[in-house]
């Protein structure tokens, strides 16, 4: 009974999460071919051990060498990292004051505010990104308003630039930043701040020396929750970014669907995964520490 209970989800995840990665890794070592499936070698089980050895002999790291030779790929990795770092910082700057305001709001409002932060998370991601296309385009609502007020004389070009990508990321990932910070700030004991002020801290230095350090766990968790998925983001750079916005998720998609180069797409995925392992492990460790601190 207990065995069965463990085995069913275990086998499911092995078959549909681990095995697929092994296959991706294998294909990343294969060569492109005009065939179905479009790569060689394919393992021929009928030939037994000799077939397996011949199969192994044909695998090589050619695609990875190709990734380092063509500037497109490492530029895309670097630019994804840059966009992820900048947008994580921007999300933190926008999200922290909101989380702070929520934690300081009267108790009877908090459930309502919490709900309002969660609600966008339930609505379609695609629609939320799409809603910015009408706002940021040349003849869009933002330009209409700015021209009408008279701040600008010519419409600004925002859509199809990196700025639009930053706005899109901050907008869609904001709840992921707000919620952990809010959870940390809500637990914070106000009397600590009062003590700091009694002992001669200014409001600002009390915030800097007490509130920020005590909400550190929330800041770290929120930053990882924004940073990790942003690196592989595909929808936002494709809809809001321009032809010059390079992000690795987009490169992988195009390599697969437009160029039909499965081996290179797989190699791109493996390298992306290797880059992500470090932040994922750090994030898990932070969560672990958090859980231990709570108990």
């Amino acid at each position: 009974m207990r065995r069965l209970l463990i085995a069913i989800p275990y086998l499911w995840l092995l078959a549909l999460f681990i095995v697929p990665f092994v296959i991706v890794f294998k294909i990343s070592l294969s060569d492109l071919a005009v065939a179905i499936p479009p790569y060689t070698p394919t393992l021929d089980i009928a030939e037994g051990w000799a077939g397996f050895k011949a199969f192994l002999a044909e695998l090589d790291f050619e695609n990875y060498i190709w990734l380092t030779e063509d500037a497109l790929y490492w530029k895309a990795y670097l630019s994804s990292l840059k966009i992820a770092v900048i947008s994580t910082l921007l999300t933190l700057l926008v999200g922290y004051p909101i989380a702070y305001g929520m934690a300081r709001a009267p108790e009877e409002w908090r459930a309502m505010l919490f709900m309002l932060v969660i609600l966008p998370f339930w609505t379609s991601f695609l629609i939320r990104v799409y809603s910015w296309m009408g706002i940021l385009s040349q003849e869009g609502y933002l330009n209409q308003v700015l021209l009408w007020i008279g701040v600008i004389n010519e419409p600004l070009v925002i859509l199809n630039t990196n700025i639009a990508v930053y706005i899109g990321i901050v907008y869609t990932y904001l709840p992921f930043m707000i919620l952990p910070i809010y959870a940390a700030l809500e637990k914070l004991d106000i009397s600590l701040l009062e003590a700091a002020e009694d002992l001669g801290c200014s409001r600002f230095s009390a915030f800097w020396l007490v509130t920020i350090p005590l909400s550190k766990q929330g800041i770290i968790a929120g930053s990882f929750l924004v940073f990790i998925p942003t690196i592989g983001e595909f929808v936002i750079p494709s809809l809001l970014g321009g032809s010059r916005t390079l992000m690795i998720g987009k490169v992988l998609w195009e390599e697969f669907f437009s160029n039909r180069d499965w081996p290179v797409a797989s190699a791109v995925a493996v390298v992306l995964l290797l880059i992500l392992i470090i932040p994922i492990v750090l994030f898990q460790r932070n969560e672990q520490k958090q859980r231990e601190a709570d108990q």
Partner: protein, 272 residues
């Protein structure tokens, strides 16, 4: 409790304006008469008529709901099992790998999950369609379900289960009669989460579906790439309203249940 400072009020006002204004604008302009989306030309509901007459959208919506329903049910069963294993099964071989497999899919970039599942389906020679999307969605959604359910499992009093076992329940009976009713709210929110995650997904569905199955996000995607369109605005408004009504109703029901549970607990305390 300190009073709200001007700073807090401003940051909340601007913050929520930022979160909601784009969607409010989208909803308002879905009632725009003009084909040019950004120029207001009077009130009209004609785009809603266009959406409801567009069979391609309706077919895609049907596929999406089917996929979401099947995958969220499967994900709820598997995810609840995984949560029980994580919280109650104690030590077993490969536990670290198991918990890794539960957490990793949630932070995995969608392009990688999609690509790897597609390559699996191809090497197994499976025909791609509704079935493969369901398998893919179940896999990542079950992880979310298990996190939601295990947080409830951790917090409830295990001695209730032990009491049931002492009083002669079989483990299955104890689960059905004691554990399940207690974790039911978490199981339901897990199901809802899995359902909306599946409704929402574009990237994984695009990789794992074949020519026979197009989901609504895939349909929207191919139209949105060409630019803003009034039909998509109307469709988006319908989707936003359906989700908002669903979530608000669910949270109201949940709130009522929590209140009732508290009242019952208070009454039980009085009796004791």
């Amino acid at each position: 409790m300190r009073r709200m400072t001007w700073f807090n009020v401003t940051s909340l006002t601007f913050g929520f304006a930022f979160l909601y204004l784009p969607m409010v604008i989208l909803i308002i302009y879905s009632f725009n008469e003009s084909k040019l989306v950004t120029v207001w030309a009077g009130f009209s509901t004609k785009w809603y008529g266009e959406v409801l007459r567009n069979t391609a959208f309706l077919d895609a919506a049907w596929v999406t709901v089917k996929v979401a329903f099947l995958s969220s049910c499967l994900a709820t069963i598997l995810g609840t099992m995984a949560a029980i294993v994580m919280v109650r099964a104690g030590r077993f071989r490969g536990r670290t790998l198991f918990s890794g497999m539960i957490y990793a899919p949630m932070v995995m970039p969608e392009v990688i999950t999609g690509l790897s599942l597609l390559l699996l389906f191809i090497s197994l020679g499976m025909d791609r369609g509704v079935f493969t999307i369901v398998l893919a969605h179940t896999t990542f959604a079950m992880c979310y379900v298990s996190v939601v359910v295990s947080s409830r499992l951790v917090s409830f009093d295990q001695s209730l289960e032990e009491a049931a076992l002492d009083l002669g329940c079989s483990p299955v009976q104890a689960f059905r009669l004691v554990t399940l009713p207690i974790i039911a709210p978490a199981v339901i929110s897990g199901w809802l989460l899995a359902f909306t995650l599946s409704l929402d997904d574009l990237v994984i569905a695009s990789f794992t579906s074949g020519p026979s199955a197009t989901t609504l996000p895939m349909k929207i995607w191919s139209s949105v790439r060409l630019g803003v369109s009034p039909e998509i605005n109307a469709l988006s408004t319908i989707m936003i309203l359906v989700v908002a009504i669903g979530v608000i109703t669910a949270s109201l029901i949940n709130k009522r249940n929590v209140m009732r549970q508290r009242r019952e607990e208070a009454a039980a305390d009085k009796l004791a």
